[in-house]
């Protein structure tokens, strides 16, 4: 589904990603972990098409298409979803209007008919249950005045509405308390299928108790320096990142 080959990216001339290789197949959950500043969020942003990042080398194909050629909106319409680390508050744009516009533009791209208001609302109600989000929240402006947990739940709710094939969760767990974490993870797990895949970018092993990964990759200094199964995450939790840094630094000398 997703093939990343030797991906290099920089921001304002500073290289951040220095040769990422990763393949994600349908049905898989990949966790990307790593110390602060290792390039985790950059990788998520580059995949979603954030313009500040310049890809200097390498390629990314998604369902056979060159992902890097596509605009951010076309990536979303192709089925890439980025759950933002910091969801943006947009005063004056109602959550419901925004979502309906988004859903219908995605549907149009995929050659599907636009949903009318009634159908849209009934789908919305059904998906709201997944993340236990309150209708009142959705009648407000998008993310405006939402708590941290509400914002993250709203991200997963949007994911449910847009039905992506590849979801990238960028530190969705950061700052969440246990209850919110449980609700968010539960939502993600229910949306999982053999057709779609998830990349979970996280700092904390805790999330992986709820969203169980098939693979764990450790990102350090712009490269994946170690890959393994969920046991690797436990080892990281116990021993920290220093031993990985040492290994990687030693290898690069």
């Amino acid at each position: 589904m997703l093939k990343i080959k030797n991906l290099h990216a920089s921001i304002e001339g500073t290289p951040i990603l220095k040769g990422i290789n990763l393949e994600v197949k349908p049905g898989e959950v990949h966790a990307i972990m790593g110390p602060n500043g290792s390039g985790k969020s950059t990788l998520a942003s580059v995949l979603a098409g954030r313009e500040e990042y310049e890809v200097t080398e390498g390629e990314v194909s998604f369902k056979g298409k060159d992902l890097l050629e596509l605009s951010p909106e076309d990536r979303a319409r192709e089925g890439v979803f980025l759950a933002f680390q910091y969801p943006v508050e947009i005063p004056g744009v109602s959550s419901t209007n925004f979502l309906r516009t988004a859903v219908n533009q995605v549907r149009e791209y995929r050659g599907l008919e636009a949903l009318d208001a009634v159908k849209f609302l009934s789908i919305m109600k059904e998906k709201m249950k997944l993340v236990e989000i309150d209708q009142k929240l959705l009648s407000r402006s998008l993310n405006e005045g939402f708590s941290g947990g509400e914002k993250k739940r709203n991200e997963i709710f949007q994911m449910a509405m847009l039905e992506p094939t590849l979801s990238i969760l960028d530190e969705t767990d950061s700052g969440l308390d246990i209850d919110a974490l449980r609700i968010v993870s539960n939502g993600v797990n229910q949306l999982k299928s053999s057709e779609n895949a998830t990349i979970v970018v996280t700092h904390y092993q805790r999330l992986l108790d709820y969203i169980v990964p098939d693979f764990v990759h450790v990102l350090y200094n712009g490269k994946i320096v170690k890959s393994g199964t969920k046991e690797l995450a436990l080892e990281l939790e116990e021993k920290g990142y220093d031993w990985i840094k040492e290994e990687a630094d030693a290898a690069s000398v």
Partner: protein, 425 residues
């Protein structure tokens, strides 16, 4: 002419002074002021960003007043917006057009100024406050006088609609006096329609007296042709416990200057001023607002927002005076701008003068670009870039229209703005 030359424009105006015999005192004081001060010159503080005298000199070739132009009922009908139901007052090149107007005069009286000869004329928008007000006093032929009856509500809005098209004269003058008696209530809508794409200079004065515990709502739209030059003096005296709300929207013109003054003359008054300027091309819009708190326990709220594309220019100047007597004043002012191009310019200046010590006053202004992070967020959800821009710009602008209480006009403004922003949602 024995005038002291201040600039060319004033000489040209004075050479063409029609010398009407009516309103002798008003015209005399206007002439005296203009002979002394002239029109605003290059260094005049109040006009330093809006060189309107120069603009007039360079673009206007005939300084005669325009006579009535050909105008049909169809012109009027096609400029009423969907859902409008109310009286229509038609101005043809600034002259009241009785035939095309439809005036029920239900709960109000409607007369020409020449019929009522009110002493109040020129007492609210004073000649000495602005040279264009003085010029209007000299050059307007006749105007209208609308008086809402005591304790009555004019149920349907009164739509003042100006049709402008220069002929042998390019100067269009209009003069409106509105009195809202005690405990009365009325809503006005005002629009200006350019009948062609040629130059004219319109110079308008509107004076409103809102008496005790009365309520006035005034919604103004300016969407003129790209050569239109316009000066507007709008002044309101607000008396005890009365409320006045102005919502002004500017979409197009060459150079538009609006002076809006609210005088809060007694306790318990509320004055609201909301505005949106959504500009492109070379349109230059200058909003000078002025709210004067003279007595305790009055509120004023002001929100002006601007979106400027291409090489358009916006000027905002917001004066708030709080006099020594005006304790317990609440005065809020906000001006926010989004620049869509590197060639667009905004000059914004809040000006607060506060002599009372127990007041709540705040002001703020921002100028920036469209929020890139918000744009990316919408795109990342599959919304096309142009559509996303429209959505964000409308979200920014739409706040102003929340203050239009007459739904059909609000919808009409929203529609115009959304068309301009190139998006439907």
């Amino acid at each position: 002419m024995t005038t002291i030359t201040k600039n060319k424009a004033i000489d040209l105006f004075l050479e063409n002074n029609p010398n009407f015999s009516t309103f002798e005192n008003l015209r005399k004081s206007g002439l005296e002021f203009l002979e002394m001060k002239g029109l605003p010159h290059l260094k005049e503080e109040e006009y330093k960003f809006t060189q309107i005298s120069k603009k007039i000199e360079q673009n206007v070739s005939s300084f005669k007043s325009a006579i009535k132009t050909e105008l049909t009922a169809e012109n009027v009908k096609s400029n009423l917006f969907e859902g409008f139901d109310g009286d229509v007052v038609v101005f043809n090149n600034g002259h009241f057009d009785a035939e095309l107007s439809s005036i029920s005069a239900q709960n109000y009286s409607f007369l020409k100024l020449s019929e009522t000869q009110p002493d109040l004329l020129g007492q609210i928008a004073k000649n000495e406050k602005d040279p264009f007000a003085a010029l209007n006093s000299l050059t307007f032929e006749d105007g209208v006088h609308i008086s809402v009856e005591k304790g009555k509500k004019v149920e349907k809005p009164i739509f003042l609609i100006h049709f402008n098209k220069a002929n042998e004269g390019q100067i269009i003058n209009s003069r409106i006096l509105i009195e809202i008696a005690e405990n009365a209530e009325v809503t006005f809508i005002e629009n200006t329609v350019s009948l062609d794409e040629e130059v004219y200079f319109s110079n308008a004065v509107v004076e409103v007296k809102v008496n005790q515990n009365a309520h006035g709502y005034y919604y103004r739209l300016q969407n003129e042709n790209r050569k239109a030059i316009s000066a507007n003096n709008f002044a309101t005296d607000i008396h005890r416990d009365a409320t006045f709300t102005s919502v002004a929207t500017q979409l197009q013109g060459d150079m538009l200057r609006n002076n809006l003054t609210l005088n809060l003359l007694d306790s318990g008054c509320v004055g609201n001023m909301y505005g949106l300027y959504l500009l492109n091309g070379k349109t230059h819009v200058d909003n000078h607002t002025n709210v004067d708190h003279t007595k305790p326990h009055c509120d004023s709220n002001e929100l002006y927002k601007g979106i400027l594309a291409d090489s358009s220019r916006g000027v905002f100047n917001g004066k708030i005076f709080v006099r020594q007597d005006a304790q317990k004043t609440n005065a809020f002012q906000q001006n926010n701008n989004i620049l869509m191009s590197e060639d667009a310019i905004v000059n914004t200046k809040p000006q607060l003068e506060i002599w009372a010590d127990d007041v709540k006053c705040s002001h703020g202004c921002t100028t920036g670009q469209l929020d890139e992070e918000a744009l990316f967020y919408l795109q990342a959800r599959g919304i096309g870039k142009e559509h996303a821009k429209g959505l964000l710009l409308y979200a920014f602008a739409g706040e102003v229209f929340e203050h239009i209480a007459y739904e059909p006009f609000k919808e009409y403004c929203i529609q115009l703005v959304q068309e301009r922003l190139g998006s439907s949602f």
